[in-house]
């Protein structure tokens, strides 16, 4: 698989995607597909999942070739692989500097060698080559039925950034509260919060500020702010509006952006008020670790969730080689 990123905007956007994913976890899945390149990540507690899909049109040149593996009936895909974020981040460390100095970035991989090569052609003839080793692994994909969420907000990332700036950078969790008449973001407080030591912040907005505002059910969802910040920085680089899909407390909240060239989704678990604990995503999303097990995807209740939960745990420890079918992103 080989793809070439050119034009400064693309490089900055790609770099910001890496930074955004870095907020989720230390490693990410690098998944070249026929239609484009998918980067995915999930955190260790399975409470946050990110996927950024760059269509082949995003790149100046995208060339993907199937691997050649014997005895497979389905079309072969090159294996997705896991990369450690820490090794990729230095490549895209200073996004602003990148824009000025790098003329072209090419990414290529070959299954025979155990590494992915990032090559930056910089000004003055400087060429930086990074060979990053990867681990082969099972594909990762979480499917979340956004369209079934009763609450949908759509807004430019600038608004969300302007809201979050009022919270201290140390603020871990915030609560989004909606009714058909108003929206507010506030610092999350637990029952045993020491109010005499904690500064609390709340921002109230009017529904008019949103490009699209649909509230089917009054709800208050609490999620981790740190993971959201990454997505916001990324979406500001792309200037694509952010869609927020969510439901009652305990069910995941999805922040996504979508345009012709790319799609990104950050799915965060929310605190379940009744149980006072984070509901892990596998209760509500279907994590495809082995596509041969699952057919159609649907958003269902706990019963199926539990089955998948055990499958998830089982798949984690298996190391399956051989071609696996990866379906496209959500």
């Amino acid at each position: 698989m080989e793809c070439v990123l050119q034009c400064f905007l693309s490089l900055a956007v790609f770099g910001r995607a890496i930074h955004a994913i870095a907020r989720i976890s230390d490693e990410f899945w690098f998944d070249p597909l026929e239609k484009g390149l998918a980067l995915r990540s999930v955190n260790s507690s399975r409470s946050a999942y990110a996927c950024v899909f760059f269509s082949s049109m995003f790149f100046q040149h995208y060339c993907w070739t199937a691997g050649t593996q014997p005895c497979q009936k389905e079309k072969q895909l090159s294996l997705p692989c896991k990369l450690i974020i820490k090794s990729v981040l230095p490549v895209f460390r200073c996004v602003n500097v990148l824009e000025r100095n790098v003329e072209k970035c090419s990414i290529c991989s070959s299954p025979s060698e155990q590494h992915i090569t990032f090559q930056l052609l910089c000004r003055h003839g400087v060429v930086k080559t990074y060979n990053l080793t990867f681990q082969e692994c099972d594909p990762l994909q979480a499917v979340f039925a956004k369209h079934m969420c009763p609450n949908i907000l759509k807004v430019h990332s600038r608004l969300l950034a302007d809201v979050i700036i009022h919270f201290p950078s140390s603020q871990e969790e915030i609560t989004l509260s909606v009714t058909p008449m108003k929206v507010s973001f506030k610092s999350y407080t637990e029952e045993d919060t020491d109010f005499s030591r904690t500064m609390l912040t709340e921002i109230q907005l009017s529904p008019e500020e949103f490009d699209y505002f649909q509230v089917g059910v009054d709800s208050e969802v609490t999620f981790c702010l740190k993971e959201l910040r990454g997505l916001l920085a990324f979406s500001e680089a792309t200037s694509v509006p952010v869609s927020v899909h969510f439901d009652r407390s305990g069910r995941p909240i999805a922040f996504s952006i979508e345009d012709l060239l790319l799609e990104a989704s950050f799915i965060l678990a929310t605190l379940c008020e009744a149980e006072r604990e984070i509901s892990y995503l596998y209760k509500y999303c279907i994590f495809q670790f082995h596509s041969l097990f699952f057919g159609a995807v649907s958003y269902k209740d706990k019963a199926i969730g539990d089955t998948f939960q055990s499958l998830v745990t089982a798949s984690d420890t298996e190391e399956e080689l051989g071609a696996l079918q990866s379906s496209p992103v959500l």
């Binding site: 005499s196 912040t201 921002i203 109230q204 009017s206 008019e208 500020e209």
Partner: protein, 284 residues
């Protein structure tokens, strides 16, 4: 006890925020004293503060469009609150384009200063950001701990050099030593000195001028009879000096310091609408 205030003018808001920023650099927690006409930020010289103390005074009329307070009792019409300046700074920092900022003393879960910021937005309704800053109410019996410090019986009083210059000198010295010696005389000369095993550095300032203090009975200042060339000095924690200077973003109208030889340095920074006094004790 009630307190309610409002700032509508952006310049006043900006100025007030800058004062809070100065206070943040000097104290982790401090006392806010509210009277009908003035606000005071007070840091008393407890050991926890490294012995440094601060007295900052401003007239509420110069900043607030509305200011109403009712103290603890009619004859003690004042409120003393302990709070973390950093919290207030954070609330004001993102309010710089606000249509209005209201501050109110409330008691929901615990006593708080509620800062409500009215921000402009694209829609017809404004965005409202509310910050609840927890405060501790200081009971009347402890008010005596926070009286205005008296002017020490100083040996030398001298105007400070241009603060920007002094700041950059002290910042470089901070990299070399934890303590700095300030010495000055009544001829307008001041030296800043650091000394370590490897190096000693002195920066000399001259022609600074000495403020003319008259004592209460009309006689000449206590400096009279003192040899004009003789230096009074004090060795102080360099970080405290650096923090004081770093907090000054605007040049004060008057900046001076009074040195009590080997005891304490008393800094006085006067702006049009606010006065700040900062005491740094000498290290033994």
């Amino acid at each position: 006890m009630r307190f309610r205030a409002k700032i509508v003018d952006l310049a006043c808001l900006n100025h007030f925020s800058r004062i809070i920023n100065t206070i943040v650099k000097l104290a982790k927690t401090c006392i806010l004293r509210l009277t009908v006409c003035k606000l005071y930020f007070i840091l008393s010289d407890k050991v926890a503060n490294g012995g440094a103390s601060m007295w900052c005074e401003l007239s509420q009329g110069n900043f607030f469009d509305e200011f109403q307070m009712e103290g603890v009792a009619a004859e003690h019409n004042e409120i003393y609150l302990e709070f973390v300046p950093e919290n207030l700074w954070r609330a004001l920092k993102t309010a710089q384009s606000a249509k209005a900022v209201k501050i109110k003393l409330t008691n929901k879960h615990c006593p708080c200063l509620r800062v409500a910021v009215d921000l402009p937005s694209l829609s017809s309704c404004s965005r409202i950001v509310t910050h609840d800053i927890p405060v501790g109410v200081i009971p009347r019996r402890m008010w005596n701990d926070f009286r205005e410090p008296s002017m020490p019986d100083f040996d030398v009083s001298i105007y400070l050099p241009v603060l920007k210059t002094m700041k950059s000198v002290v910042e470089r010295m901070k990299n070399l030593s934890n303590f700095i010696v300030i010495e000055a005389n009544l001829s307008g000369e001041m030296n800043l000195k650091i000394e370590t095993d490897l190096v000693s550095v002195t920066t000399h300032f001259k022609d600074l001028g000495n403020p003319p203090w008259a004592s209460e009975d009309g006689c000449q200042s206590s400096g009279q009879g003192r040899d004009l060339e003789s230096m009074a000095e004090a060795c102080i924690d360099i970080k405290k000096l650096q923090q004081l200077l770093a907090g000054q973003q605007v040049n004060p109208t008057k900046a001076l310091c009074n040195i009590v030889h080997k005891r304490i340095v008393h800094f006085i920074l006067l702006h049009e609408e606010v006065s700040l006094q900062y005491f740094i004790p000498a290290i033994a």
